[in-house]
């Protein structure tokens, strides 16, 4: 029973089926429970959340990653799977907390002040959540003070800053400077991304990493 349901969770992650209503990559699982319903069932069946995560969710995401790298899967497939895993993590959050199981880390993400573009930021948030990180999305056009405040209060291990415009990318440097001034810089790894920025720019402003896209962000974090 336990093996069956874990295998089915994994299969549903591969198919990117969050709930029963999702069709997935093909219609072979149509109408059957999706990741959310299955994880609920697994928890009710007293299956260990670690097993659900490692053998169901993570194992499924691993296959998705492989399929993406061989170009069998596209970004929408990857995101659907990540969304399904993210929803499962939400369900399991209380159980994980009571069992003292830690997530991969706390990740805060924001589009900097003056910039309202958030497609990239949202995709990064979905993927990281699906990869097992606790993601705090601070939103768009976020004032530097709010970012600093969040880092001070919530102590995320990672901070992602996004900007699309050449006119707003300089705000990233302002945030980093403010973190330094508040003696918070060493407590958080700062990752930047967005159409306007580059590796050189990241170095120039003292960021820890430049992520060329959302998948790169996952890779960078896995490297820490």
């Amino acid at each position: 029973m336990s093996k069956d349901i874990i295998g089915t969770i994994k299969e549903n992650v591969i198919q990117g089926r969050k709930t029963q209503g999702d069709v997935g990559i093909d219609d072979s699982l149509a109408g059957t429970p999706g990741v959310v319903e299955l994880v609920q069932q697994a928890l009710e069946g007293n299956i260990s959340p670690q097993i659900i995560i490692s053998e169901g969710l993570t194992a499924g995401m691993q296959v998705v990653g492989e399929k993406f790298s061989t170009k069998e899967y596209f970004i929408p497939d990857m995101l659907a799977s990540a969304e399904a895993v993210g929803a499962a993590m939400d369900i399991m959050k209380p159980v994980l907390e009571s069992a003292n199981v830690e997530t991969k880390g706390k990740f805060a993400i924001a589009t900097v002040k003056g910039d309202i573009h958030d497609i990239g930021k949202n995709i990064v948030a979905i993927l990281l959540k699906g990869a097992g990180y606790e993601v705090n999305d601070l939103g768009i056009d976020v004032p530097t003070e709010k970012v600093v405040e969040f880092v001070k209060e919530e102590k995320p291990g990672y901070l992602g800053l996004s900007a699309l415009l050449t006119t707003t990318m300089t705000e990233m440097g302002v945030v980093i400077k403010a973190l330094e001034e508040n003696k918070l810089r060493s407590s958080v790894k700062v990752l930047i991304g967005g159409a306007a920025v580059s590796e050189e720019f990241a170095q120039e402003i003292g960021a820890d990493a430049y992520c060329v896209n959302a998948f790169d962000a996952v890779k960078v974090l896995e490297g820490y």
Partner: protein
């Protein structure tokens, strides 16, 4: 089920109805004044016996001035079939062409003398020897029958190719005038199950190639119902002349009732007026004269209105297929054929460029897109051809196929109806209510349904331009795929009955 082709929902037209009418009227006038010069006696006799005025012209070559009355042309337009079927070895590859339906079939050809090989040597940067790049190098050589087999083989697998006109002239030492036709027909038909169209090198071989087609199709009657071969003859030499030998071939093909293209290829500036009105009135008159002759030989002969107009280059007075005007003339001709409801043979993709590259891509894509949009039924779109149709590159043919897939996608009809719009409004309401406000999850149901166009198939990684190398890989992959050859028994009968086919083309003999 015939091939589906590309159905152009709203064909692009340059001429108003009144302008088409004016061209028609001008062509009618041309056919009586000055009329045509015929160097073929039989054509003169046929036209004369049906009411054309004929007058002998003094000179070294026997010729006649022929004035074709309008009534004769109109009657021919009446008997010319408005639907033409071009059959195929594989019946699923048949082409059904309705003169009033802008369904485009894409065909290879024409014959070139030069075959372009490609290799990818590595070059080292002199300043930094650690840097290397692979660069395509094209090497021209004379085409052979093996090349023709390869070309037919690859074109069998090119998805967008609907029919095959041989792309290379076979110039092997053992190919002579008397055996060229049977060999080019056999090599093409044996490596390709799509419709095969060709010109004839020697009229003496007509009955041999027709017999070959009968054997493959399953008999004379079967060939009538499934004409797996058709012919193209340039009986007209611009301006306004019936050439002796090609007119004779044309008449003989019409007598056998097989589909034939009446083709004219005037060059604006030299063999036709440089002005659009002039070349259009002339080419239309030339094609109508051919159609009239064909219908008088055998009423109901399936004919295609064949137009290959081109503008002259101002620097050499050679053909400039890459010129913008050439596409304009072609589009006008498509419209004139539709005016008569006779299926059209049109041309696109011919370029001035000598090798694959930027110039070649721009020239051919320009005409491929606009001429396809005009909706000719039979589009000779010069797959793989370069240097004004004198060079063939298999690599270019693979690229052309990919580009036509994009054109096909572009010409899809929009799906905008009430249920679709309602579904979209529902999506919007759902997405707007989510924190991320992204439609990405709705992509998935259509991702693999064919509703979304793919990325450029030969896109390289990073900043590298790998187009040629990737196309070359695909070319090799297509060559490695098997083709359905003519079966052993039919092959044996063909070799038994048809003289002159090179023994090395018999795959069963060479394999055993």
């Amino acid at each position: 089920m015939p091939r589906k082709g590309i159905l152009v929902d709203r064909p692009f037209e340059r001429l108003t109805r009144e302008q088409a009418e004016l061209i028609h009227q001008a062509s009618m006038q041309i056919l009586t004044d000055p009329g045509l010069i015929s160097f073929n006696r039989e054509a003169v006799d046929i036209l004369h016996s049906h009411g054309a005025a004929v007058e002998s012209i003094a000179g070294d070559h026997q010729s006649w001035q022929v004035k074709i009355p309008e009534q004769l042309v109109l009657k021919a337009l009446d008997t010319a079939p408005k639907t033409v079927k071009l059959g195929a070895r594989n019946p699923d590859n048949a082409l059904i062409m309705h003169g009033d339906e802008p369904r485009v079939y894409l065909i290879t050809g024409s014959e070139t003398n030069i075959w372009l090989d490609v290799d990818f040597p590595t070059y080292v940067n002199k300043a930094d020897p650690t840097k290397e790049i692979r660069v395509p190098e094209f090497k021209p050589r004379r085409g052979t029958i093996d090349d023709l087999c390869q070309s037919a083989h690859v074109c069998e697998h090119l998805e967008m190719v609907d029919g095959y006109i041989r792309t290379v002239n076979i110039q092997d030492r053992d190919i002579i005038e008397d055996n060229k036709d049977v060999n080019k027909f056999f090599a093409s038909l044996n490596n390709n199950t799509k419709h095969f169209m060709s010109g004839l090198t020697s009229l003496k071989q007509l009955d041999n190639v027709v017999r070959m087609a009968e054997l493959i199709a399953g008999g004379k009657k079967a060939l009538e119902g499934n004409p797996i071969i058709s012919f193209i003859t340039c009986l007209v030499k611009s301006p306004l002349q019936f050439v002796d030998d090609t007119t004779e071939t044309f008449i003989e093909v019409c007598r056998r009732g097989l589909p034939i293209v009446v083709s004219s290829s005037p060059q604006a500036g030299t063999t036709a007026p440089i002005k659009e009105a002039g070349i259009m009135a002339q080419i239309n008159a030339e094609v109508l004269a051919g159609i009239t002759l064909g219908q008088l030989v055998k009423p109901g002969t399936p004919v295609l209105y064949g137009s290959v107009p081109v503008r002259a280059r101002m620097d050499t007075l050679g053909d400039s297929y890459g010129s913008v005007e050439t596409s304009q003339y072609n589009i006008d001709c498509v419209q004139m054929a539709r005016f008569y409801r006779i299926p059209n043979y049109s041309t696109s993709g011919v370029c001035d460029s000598k090798i694959p590259g930027q110039q070649s891509s721009i020239e051919r894509l320009f005409s491929d897109i606009v001429v396809t949009m005009s909706g000719p039924q039979f589009l000779h779109c010069a797959f793989g051809l370069l240097d004004c149709n004198s060079v063939f590159s298999l690599l270019q043919a693979v690229l052309d196929d990919a580009h036509f897939k994009m054109i096909e996608f572009f010409l899809r009809q929009p799906r905008i109806d009430q249920p679709e719009l309602e579904a979209m409004l529902k999506q919007m309401r759902e997405v707007v209510a989510t924190p991320q406000k992204l439609y990405i999850r709705y992509i998935r149901p259509v991702l693999r349904s064919g509703e979304i166009s793919g990325v450029y198939p030969f896109e390289g990684s990073g900043e590298a331009d790998d187009v040629f190398e990737l196309a070359y890989e695909q070319m090799k992959e297509l060559l490695a795929r098997p083709v359905e050859h003519i079966d052993r028994e039919t092959t044996a009968r063909i070799f038994e009955e048809i003289p002159g086919i090179l023994p090395r083309l018999n795959i069963y003999e060479s394999r055993s």
